[in-house]
Structures are given as C-alpha cells and as structure tokens.
Amino acid sequence: MQYMCLIYSAANAGPQPGTPEFGPFMKAYQDFTTMVKDKGALVSGDALQPIETATTVTKENGKLETTDGPFAETKEQLGGYYLLDCKDLDEAINYAAQIPTAEHGRIEVRPVIVWDD
C-alpha cells in the first residue's frame, strides 16, 4: 500500500540556508532517504522550489487562467513529498515521524487509492 507523505512547514520555521544548522538538516534528509530506500519503502520523493515559483492553473469556461502563486495562501506550505510503500498506516506514521521537517512542520499522510481493475 502506498502512502503520500506531504511535507508542510512555514517559510521561516526550521533551519534556514546559510545557517550552521542547515547542513545537518540536509544531511538528515539524505539519511532518511537512504533509510527508506534500504528498507524498500521508497517509491519516490522530491523537494519543491519555494512557493514564489508556483503558478496556479485553472480553466474557466474553457479559458485558461493562470495565477501567480500557490493555490492556498496558508502559513505552512507544501515543501516536498515522499511516496512510500508501507505495510499499513502504523508503518507510514512511523516513517513520517522520522522526516526531518516533522520537528518544526507537519507531515500529512494520505493513502493512495488502489483502483479495482
């Protein structure tokens, strides 16, 4: 069963680039990725460019509309994700809690739909 772990945090929360804490923070992400890969749980995972780079797209009456910025203006923004293959929700929660951003942000764990064929 696959679980999408969506990583949310506020822009000013947690270690910032250029500070001494940032290096170990990135290292913790590398270690986490290696760990889930070794356990055979990693399907995919990426970090996203900051929300300033976001474009929101919709079609209204067939006409393309684009908006500069993210869909939802909330304090905590989606910063990346891991797609993990787990036995059950307990395993997914266990991994999610080890994602470094869990220390200062939130991880939303969502099961991926399995379509009946």
Partner: protein
C-alpha cells in the same frame, strides 16, 4: 426444543453477550469492519428462523460466526473480490465455512484486543474512537451511542461510517501494537475507556439508564483488556479507579438527580463489593512497582473508600499522592484538586496560596473547576464575599446542568 418465544431471547442474548467477540473475529478474518458488521447482522436474522426450525445450537456463538463467515465468503465470490484477499484469509474463510460440525468444536480465538487497538487508533479523533469502541466492542446500537452523547443518530451514523472507511482505506491495522508503541497506544485505549466511564458518571446529561450502562460498559471493557494484557499495570489501575468511583453510584445523587458532594454522601450505601474488589486489585497491582497516573488516582479514591466518615479522611496522604500525580502529569487540574485537599486538611491559607500561583496560567481562568475550588475554599474560610464572586464565575463557566444546579444551590445556601 424450546418454544419459539425463547428463540428471540436466545438470539438476543447470544448477540448481546458475544457481540464484541464475534465481531472481532469476523473483522480479523475479513479485514473489513463494515462487512463484518453487515454479515453478523445477516447471521442474526438467519438465526431467528433457523433456530426456530432446528433448535438452538450447542454453541450459538460458533453458529453465528460460521453463518456470518459463509455470508462473507458468498459476498467475496459474488463480487469477484475473493482472489484479491490475502491467501491466509482465503484459506481461513474456505476451510472454516465448509464444515458445520467442525466449527462448533473449534476454539474461538479472542481477537477483541486487536479490535480495541484499531478502534482507539490515534489516527482517529477521540470522539470517533469512543463511538467506534462502543459500537464494535460494546455492541451498542448507533441510536444508543447517539443518545448517550446527545448527538443526532444521523450524525453519529455518519461518523461511524467515515471511521470504518478510514480504517479500511488508510489501512489502520487490526493488530496488537509492537512493544515500542505499546505504552502510547495503550494510553489511548485507556483514555477511551475512562472517557466512556466519565460520560456515564458525570450526572445530568443524557438519559440516566444509558448513563449507568456506559459505566458498566467501561468496567467491562477494562476487564477484557486486563484479561488480555495482564502485565500492564495501568489497566488494573484504571479498573480499580472506576470500581472505586462507581461504588458511590447510589450515594452521589439524590432522588431528584442532584449531585451530592463526597462530604455529605451516605457512606453506608457505598457498594462494599466494588470497594473491596477495587482495593484488592489496587494492592496487588501496586506491588508490581510499575506505578502510573491511574494507579495514583485509584490510590486517592481508595483512601476515601476506606475512611468511614469524612472527618477521618487521611488528607496528608491524599496531598502527598497529588504530588506524585503531578510529577507524572504536570497539569494545573492536579494542583487544583490538591489545593482543595489541602484546605480540607486544615490549611486553607496554603490552599489559597497554591491557587493564586495557578492563576498566573491564563488557561486556568476559563476553567470552571478552578473557580469552584476557589469559591469552596474561600467560603470555608468565612470569606463569603469573594467566595460568592468565584461561585458566580464558576456558574457562568459551567456547561453541565447538574453541576450548575449544584453550584447555584451552594450560592443559595450562603444567603443570610
């Protein structure tokens, strides 16, 4: 064969007594809580006609499981989902629903513990955990649960359906948590059981009969959990705490349903059997030297249970136990209760000082028990004016009718 009238009763009784056990095994073997409930309802309906024609089977419980499994198997085959089941589930469903006689002799494994951990999974909110536990392990109907919590049956039904869907789609396991998760997950189970008990115990809301049923149900759930996890001392602590509280069931309300404070309760009508069971259990548990907050609270309750009258209460012991409790659970609520005990113990000034310290915490300001405690201590000191002000505060913050009534009558008693 028994006459037809008794068939209804036999079915009723089997379902009531064994609902949780039967459902647990069906959930475990179908992997689907909703399906398990549906096929058990079906089997119950079938039992009515079948038992009337063929007599009540030797093991009604096994018969219901057998019939329900067969229904599940039919449904999987009809919907062509059988092949997608895990191989061990397939095998189990096929073998077990094949041979009628075999099933009656079968030792029915107890899967209630797995189920209670699923129902109380922290990925569900607490109200949902409570409702689900009452439905699946207690066998209460959706209407009964809605009635107990003054919810609309429709809303409660939706809550339960949503929860079962989440369990299925997010794959919350039907398993006893591994050792590293046990403490955390068990505390969630115990919180649910204690919540059920307190819903029944806090007077005034909901129907009285259902309220008492909730207390009984909480005690029953704690007994089951303790039987299945005997090494966990906090379960015994909680069970003991509930038995001791519940021993005062008939003394803590007057005929009009109004609350009677511990001080004025008729101790002669406290339930001696519950007290003795609670205290014996507590003593045996404390010996294991793995003390937790429930055991400490039970110890406090035991001191009250053991004193023949209010005047003889061992307050220093109670105050010391609150210190221990605070070390485990540093919450202002513990300190408020401790302050009350200190005032009863003859040191109202020290009690007031403790409450003044707590006042720094802004969350305490909007907390009803804080003002009720403050009022009680002030009034006992003869400071009626400030006591009255605190009582007014407490009344305005109270959300429970019986409690409000209690505070109002306290206020009335002050009038010259």
């Amino acid at each position: 064969m028994l006459p037809p009238l008794h068939i209804n009763q036999a079915v009723d009784r089997t379902v009531k007594e064994h609902w949780g056990r039967i459902l647990a095994i069906l959930v475990k073997t179908t992997g689907d809580m909703q399906l398990a409930e549906d096929v058990l309802q079906d089997a119950t309906a079938t039992a009515l006609t079948h038992w009337r024609e063929n007599g009540i089977p030797d093991s009604p419980e096994a018969w219901l499981i057998q019939t329900a499994r067969r229904r599940a198997l039919d449904k999987f085959r009809r919907e062509k989902t059988f092949d997608k089941l895990q191989p061990e589930l397939q095998q189990w469903l096929e073998i077990q629903s094949d041979d009628n006689n075999g099933a009656e002799d079968e030792v029915i494994p107890d899967k209630r513990l797995e189920l209670i951990f699923t129902c109380c999974h922290p990925a569900l909110d607490q109200k949902t955990q409570v409702a689900l536990t009452l439905r699946t392990l207690g066998g209460l109907t959706t209407d009964e649960i809605a009635g107990a919590f003054l919810d609309k049956p429709q809303a409660m039904a939706q809550r339960l359906v949503r929860a079962k869907k989440k369990i299925k789609h997010a794959k919350i396991p039907y398993e006893i948590p591994e050792a590293t998760l046990m403490t955390e997950r068990l505390s969630s189970v115990l919180a649910v059981i204690y919540f059920i008990f307190n819903e029944g115990y806090s007077a005034g809301t909901g129907r009285y009969i259902i309220r008492n049923d909730l207390c009984d149900e909480a005690v029953r759930l704690a007994r089951i959990t303790l039987t299945l996890l005997p090494q966990q001392t906090e379960i015994a602590g909680l069970l003991s705490l509930m038995l001791l509280h519940d021993s005062r069931r008939f003394a803590r309300q007057n005929a009009g349903g109004q609350m009677i404070a511990l001080e004025f309760q008729n101790r002669a009508i406290w339930d001696k059997q519950k007290i003795s069971e609670g205290i014996t259990l507590l003593k045996n548990t404390l010996k294991q030297q793995r003390v937790g907050p429930y055991q400490v609270q039970a110890s406090i309750s035991a001191i009250h249970a053991e004193s023949d009258q209010w005047q003889n209460t061992d307050w220093p012991q109670i105050i010391a136990l609150y210190d221990l409790l605070y070390a485990m659970q540093p919450s202002p609520v513990v300190r408020i209760n401790q302050a009350v005990a200190i005032s009863y113990g003859g040191k109202p000034d020290a009690a007031l000082k403790l409450l003044k310290q707590l006042e720094q915490d802004s969350s305490v300001q909007s907390y009803q028990p804080f003002h009720a405690a403050l009022a009680e201590i002030l009034i006992r000191q003869g400071k009626t004016g400030p006591g009255r002000t605190a009582l007014h505060q407490a009344i305005s913050l109270s959300t429970n009718d019986a409690e409000k009534q209690f505070l109002v009558s306290r206020l009335d008693s002050l009038k010259p």
